[in-house]
Symmetry: C2
Subunit: 407 residues, 2 copies
């Protein structure tokens, strides 16, 4: 292997881009499909070339570890997921996997086996783009995977279980299977920022203090459908008028909650006809905050507003706010400072495998490199090579500190 890791992560990204590249320059690599299998196989080949020990778990997640004194020793794990959204970009998930591979591979090559085992992970699935489930890879590792997921079907009617078994059988011809989750000492994830905060600030590295909690409500107003021309204004029960009044009130009140992100992204009107008074409107409200207590307070406030506005609210998504490890964050900040990298401590508004693992009690760090214009999940997703390399270098230095400099 070349020791010039500044070339390696960029070259590896270019190679792996082939496994599922789309006509529009995007990447479609759905869990357990042929391109996903190619990518996991290529990851194994590359990891073995670095001298790492590879194995899989029953989900098809691939692990590549440095030598360890015993198989049960907790691993300092670094990585991300190998699947993509449909026609996504070439960095989401893949960058974290390949930067981690280069970082651990280079450390092993330069310094030999670490004092504490390091491992690279290529999670099987995070995006939920083939089956209606997300984070199945990291959920399996942290024993949060529910057997119910096996019954889920893709749009072709193939079950999660059938697709999984077929793909995993292929990987099992290359590497051994480990059916009990490995113990984790820590988990590090490097990701492009899905947003435009770092670029806008001119910062080079995001240090995530917490991943937001997320609640999503479906709010319904009920009216009485009638003729728009013949029905007098007095006595109308117009679901659109009710919904607009309620949405307006929410837009007036929600800015009071400091740091809250709130979005009405979906409105469905029935019958949705220009000359008919609506009998129902359902709209979504997505609220996110890093403090669970504030999220609870906002939820209670919204529920009261909805009731006062004559509506009904149903909680459809409820993900807890997840603070990440302040110890790891401080180490990452020191590492960045040593390398004269401008950092910004920030909240992640999007979910990541890091969130699932942190919820299981493992110390977790999540690092962001800037993303051009904040574009994510699209072929135009891009980050400058220099920033991709710098992110990998900081991750590598942090892993050196954790794995080689016993505290």
């Amino acid at each position: 292997m070349s020791r010039d890791n500044h070339d390696n992560v960029i070259a590896l990204l270019a190679t792996f881009k082939h496994y599922g590249e789309t006509a529009t320059g995007g990447l479609t690599r759905l869990v357990y499909d042929a391109h996903w299998l190619q990518a996991q196989q290529a990851f194994i080949v590359q990891a073995k070339a670095y001298g790492l020990t590879c194995f899989i778990d029953p989900m098809g997640t691939v692990y590549a570890t440095t030598p360890t004194r015993n198989a049960d020793e907790p691993v300092i794990l670094t990585g991300s997921h190998m699947d993509t959204v449909i026609n996504g970009g070439g960095l989401d998930g893949q960058y974290g996997v390949l930067a981690s591979l280069v970082a651990v591979g280079e450390l092993l090559a330069q310094y030999g086996p670490p004092q504490k085992p390091l491992g690279v992970v290529a999670f099987s699935e995070e995006e939920g783009s083939r089956f209606p489930t997300t984070f199945s890879g990291s959920r399996w590792l942290t024993q949060q995977f529910n057997g119910q997921d096996n019954k889920l079907r893709d749009t072709q009617g193939v079950t999660f279980d059938a697709a999984r078994q077929q793909a995993v059988a292929q990987l099992a011809t290359l590497v051994p299977m480990r059916t009990t989750p490995i113990a984790l000492a820590a988990y590090l994830e490097l990701h492009i920022e899905q947003g435009n905060i770092l670029n806008a600030r001119g910062d080079e590295l995001g240090l995530v203090t917490a991943i937001v909690g997320q609640r999503r409500l479906a709010i319904t107003l009920t009216g009485v459908s009638n003729h728009a021309g013949t029905t007098p204004m007095i006595g109308r029960v117009d679901a659109v008028a009710q919904a607009v009044a309620l949405m307006h009130e929410l837009y007036q009140q929600l800015p009071k909650f400091d740091g809250l992100r709130y979005t009405i992204g979906q409105i469905m009107v029935s019958p949705n006809t220009a000359n008919v008074i609506a009998d129902a409107v359902q709209f979504s409200l997505d609220i996110r905050h890093e403090q669970q207590a504030l999220l609870d307070e906002v939820t209670r406030f919204v529920m009261a507003q909805v009731a006062a506005g004559g509506g009904k609210a149903c909680l459809t998504t409820d993900i807890s706010a997840t603070p990440l490890s302040s110890v790891l964050l401080e180490k990452a900040a020191q590492t960045a400072a040593q390398q004269h990298v401008r950092v910004h401590k920030m909240i992640s508004g999007a979910g990541h495998d890091a969130q699932v693992i942190a919820q299981s009690g493992v110390p977790v760090a999540l690092l962001f490199v800037p993303s051009d214009q904040g574009i994510s999940h699209a072929p135009a997703e891009a980050t400058a090579d220099q920033q991709l390399i710098q992110g990998q270098a900081i991750l590598q230095a942090l892993l050196y500190q954790l794995g080689y400099q016993s505290s």
Copy 2:
């Protein structure tokens, strides 16, 4: 024929209900279809039995007239349309046709030929439920029919022209064709109210002073689509937030315009996903008023509000307000008073053939009988027999006055 017209209109309605009755008790009789043809043929048979002279025009509209001194003498025409919406009710259009037939037939039987010719009309089409055009029957009669309509296709790909020619050829085997529109002295239309004003007031007859003008606008707001979790609140360009602000402002301001009916019935959000900030919202605004000047003023006001709110407005429907004949209205009021019928002078918020004919300069009266709960265009459409009979009796008395009592 029985002289007991109190039975006749109810019995005729029951008979004609068979021509297109649906499984849910509704009525589907689309212009030029088999049920429409049955109904027009049955109308001809019934009219001939009353001793009326029948003919058709090139649209398949059927006319049944009393004897007249010359063929070009202006006719006092009464009637409505024979087509229905899909799974509509048994009264809309049909009641006006059959009540007119009974009224004119009974007058002829009781009093012989009138001084001024009376005619019953069963217009071919008013609802626009088969082809994307409305009022084609009354538009042809008033020379407002555009040859472009002939090219329109139904959902099966059949052109208006082909369907028309085939159906009209069938009717032409029964009655002569008149290819020039007859001259009109007046037009009277009896209809169930499409709304619930009369029932709510406890009135028995609606005298329509004007049919509202109607404008429909499609209003568009444009945003920038982005991730609901990662995009800071500051700097968002959220089309839903813009649209809600504008809709709220319209709901606040529009009540200032006395007598205006305004409805937002349709909202379309793009991409309409709970966790994505919307890049576009389009909503409809339907406004109706009987005074064209006020409708013009409101349109200017809304356009200015939309521009101030950062949106764009497109006028998609524009139908002029139509005052009806105050002379005929007064005669109808006197007739009702003689029969001790409680009347209410009112605006029609829905369009009718009466509106098309009034716009051509002919004196027009439109009379409403109450409609249970204001239901219209649905199988549950209903009016008490007694009210249907009373409506026909008043129409008959009014026709007697106009046709037999020369002023």
